[in-house]
């Protein structure tokens, strides 16, 4: 059932067994997984079924530290959440990503990749992908073969491409029809209340932008509002704990991670290169896209982070087509709200146009000379100084806005250099061509145009030790018996793969956990 919370009488109390806060990929997945069970499920979604600028404005915040996107631009606040503009690129994290690596402080998940394997298989279906098979040989064809690379430090790998699944559209009717699921739209949660000892959540308090208020009580609560908002809500829930819920050891909001994206090198082929494998191509009905990645051996040997590079024609058109800001602007245009946000959208678009592409393609290569951009995606190490905090300003519902402080450093920089050098070495050995790394001077540091990949993670990190994390391996907040967190905020490390498939797998796993008697 879908209910517009604005129609509820002021002071309505909603009762359920499981209260899910947030109707994005994680929240919708958990609600679906719990449908057709004896559990009564309540899903509280801040937005409606379409983009609404007033609701979206609740996401506004400030950015300090390394330049980052405006907090109301990199995510979407309506049913389906940020899947309303995701691009559908999917791949599980690598086994390496789950390991404890001595050179990456804070690395190591409480479990290995094998534990997630069955959930990844179910997540594949939910994200409308093919089978859980990422073996590069499965996706190579006669017309789309990976480069013949020596067995060195670089491997060709594949992503599967979701349509992309717009969770709010694809699963809307299912949620509406589920007898035991009540989804409330325009229902903003503004505080999580606990008993005086903060050992259990007693209820959540909510409000609509129209002014009416409500509360929701449940046996279990699942926070599924995205990596930034999960931290914000916990930090803002200070009724019994001044530092915020689950924040006894100061981890809420910390280790904010975001894949670091850079167009920092160009591959100039010495012979015509067929890069069809590295473009989206369809194999047995499944769209896949190849990429080049650091081998686990090199990562371990050189003590690096994980990293990959897309091989893309170096054109502005291509960059624009894949621009999340363009997608957001298109949605705003389609919903008739572009005028209100025009300047912001244009600014975001300009920020995303690859100035390197504009300058370099024309000035350096000219007509008829084909180069390829090596678009790097580098794992972001969990750093305590990279964090989400509460700002001073408040939103229309009285909640403090977020302050985003994105920080990264030498390890990420060294990994980017190693990635490009490894590709240069491999390309040289394989006779593919030569690589030019930008900037010319390694002392100049990061290449121009380095930015986040719109993948926020890690603000409520998972660690079995309560002094080192916010949630345990079951995604339950340490010290609070009935509060769980879903989404990429629980990732202890980020790998390089887009987080959606993993967060959906974790959501399925959490739903299974909640189904167990005596949780």
């Amino acid at each position: 059932m879908l209910t517009d919370a604005r129609t509820l009488p002021d002071g309505t109390e909603i009762e359920s067994d499981v209260c899910i806060v947030g109707g994005g990929a994680a929240g919708i997945t958990i609600a679906r997984e719990l449908s057709h069970t004896p559990l009564r499920v309540c899903l509280l979604e801040s937005g409606g079924l379409e983009f609404d600028p007033r609701t979206q404005a609740l996401y506004r915040g400030e950015v300090i530290g390394f330049p980052y996107y405006d907090p109301d631009k990199f995510r979407l606040r309506f049913f389906g959440g940020t899947t309303n503009h995701w691009q559908g690129v999917c791949r599980p994290l690598d086994p390496l990503d789950f390991e404890r690596r001595g050179w990456v402080p804070g690395s190591g998940w409480p479990f290995g990749r094998a534990v997630l394997e069955p959930y990844y298989a179910r997540a594949q279906e939910i994200c409308q992908l093919g089978p859980l098979d990422y073996d590069v040989s499965t996706w190579a064809t006669e017309n789309a073969a990976p480069f013949a690379l020596p067995e060195t430090s670089i491997e060709s790998r594949a992503y599967q491409q979701s349509p992309p699944t717009r969770f709010g559209q694809v699963y809307r009717e299912e949620i509406r029809a589920a007898a035991n699921v009540s989804a409330y739209l325009h229902a903003n949660v503004i505080e999580i209340e606990t008993g005086s000892l903060a050992r259990a959540v007693r209820r959540v308090r909510g409000a609509c932008l129209t002014g009416n208020r409500f509360t929701a009580r449940a046996r279990w609560y699942v926070l599924a509002t995205g990596a930034v908002e999960n931290a914000r809500l916990l930090l803002a829930s200070r009724g019994t704990t001044p530092e915020g819920l689950g924040n006894r050891h100061g981890w809420v909001g910390r280790t904010f991670m975001e894949h670091i994206s850079a167009v920092g090198a160009i591959l100039l082929p010495s012979k015509p290169l067929d890069r069809s494998f590295y473009e989206t191509h369809v194999v047995r009905g499944i769209p896949v896209t190849g990429h080049l990645a650091l081998s686990p051996d090199l990562v371990r040997r050189e003590k690096l982070l994980n990293a990959q590079a897309f091989v893309r024609p170096y054109t502005m058109k291509q960059t624009l087509r894949s621009s999340p800001a363009l997608v957001s602007a298109k949605m705003a245009f389609e919903s008739g709200t572009l005028d209100d946000d025009l300047i912001d959208h244009v600014r975001a678009l300009i920020a995303q146009i690859d100035d390197l592409a504009i300058q370099s393609y024309d000035a350096w290569f000219g007509a008829g000379l084909q180069g390829f951009a090596l678009i790097a995606i580098v794992e972001h190490a969990p750093r305590v100084d990279s964090r989400i905090m509460l700002g001073k300003e408040r939103d229309a519902l009285g909640l403090q806005r977020v302050r985003v402080d994105w920080q990264f450093g030498d390890l990420e920089r060294r990994t980017l250099s190693a990635l490009y050098e490894a590709i240069a070495s491999t390309a040289g050995q394989a006779g593919l061509g030569r690589v030019r790394i930008l900037p010319d001077d390694p002392e100049m540091g990061w290449p121009p145009g380095v930015r986040g990949a719109w993948h926020q993670m890690g603000t409520t990190r998972m660690d079995e030790n309560p002094t080192r994390g916010v949630v345990n391996a079951d995604c339950r907040v340490h010290g609070i018996e009935n509060l769980f967190v879903a989404g990429s905020s629980v990732f202890p490390t980020s790998g390089y793969a887009n987080p959606t498939l993993t967060l959906v797998a974790l959501a399925v796993r959490l739903a299974d956990h909640l189904k167990k008697p005596g949780v």
Binding site: L268, P269, S270, K271, S425, R436, L438
Partner: protein, 136 residues
């Protein structure tokens, strides 16, 4: 496209072979450069990226970073470390010279013997050959 690349390698192999007579290299280079056919992406890219005179520019940039290799005789010794190597190279057919250079470049890349010149990640052998051209 391949022809120019091949020509370049032929010329480079000749350059190594006759490096003992640097005075002749300029003419060889100019002849190669004027006579090249357009379209080889690597050579054209080098030319565009580092100036109108790609290999020379790369060579100059390399020598700025490694001034101790700033003499043709030194570079020849680096490329062909002993007398036997030089003799064998001189006696070899052009095809063999090309193969030897290609193999050497491949070995450099495999062993991580790369140098960063004007942003380009080149095999050290390539950079030394460009430097040799510069000194011609």
């Amino acid at each position: 496209m391949c022809r120019t690349r091949r020509d370049f390698l032929i010329w480079l192999s000749s350059a190594v072979a006759i490096a003992a007579v640097p005075a002749g290299l300029g003419a060889v280079f100019d002849s190669w450069w004027r006579g090249r056919s357009a379209g080889d992406p690597l050579e054209e890219g080098l030319r565009r990226l580092v100036g109108g005179n790609g290999p020379r520019t790369v060579g100059r940039a390399y020598l700025r970073t490694v001034p101790e290799e700033g003499e043709a005789a030194t570079l020849v010794r680096m490329l062909l470390p002993n007398h036997e190597d030089r003799s064998r190279f001189r006696r070899a057919s052009e095809e063999k010279r090309r193969e030897a250079l290609r193999a050497r470049v491949g070995e450099d890349f495999r062993a991580g013997r790369m140098v960063r010149v004007e942003g380009w990640m080149l095999a050290r052998t390539e950079a030394r050959l460009c430097a040799l051209i510069t000194l011609a």
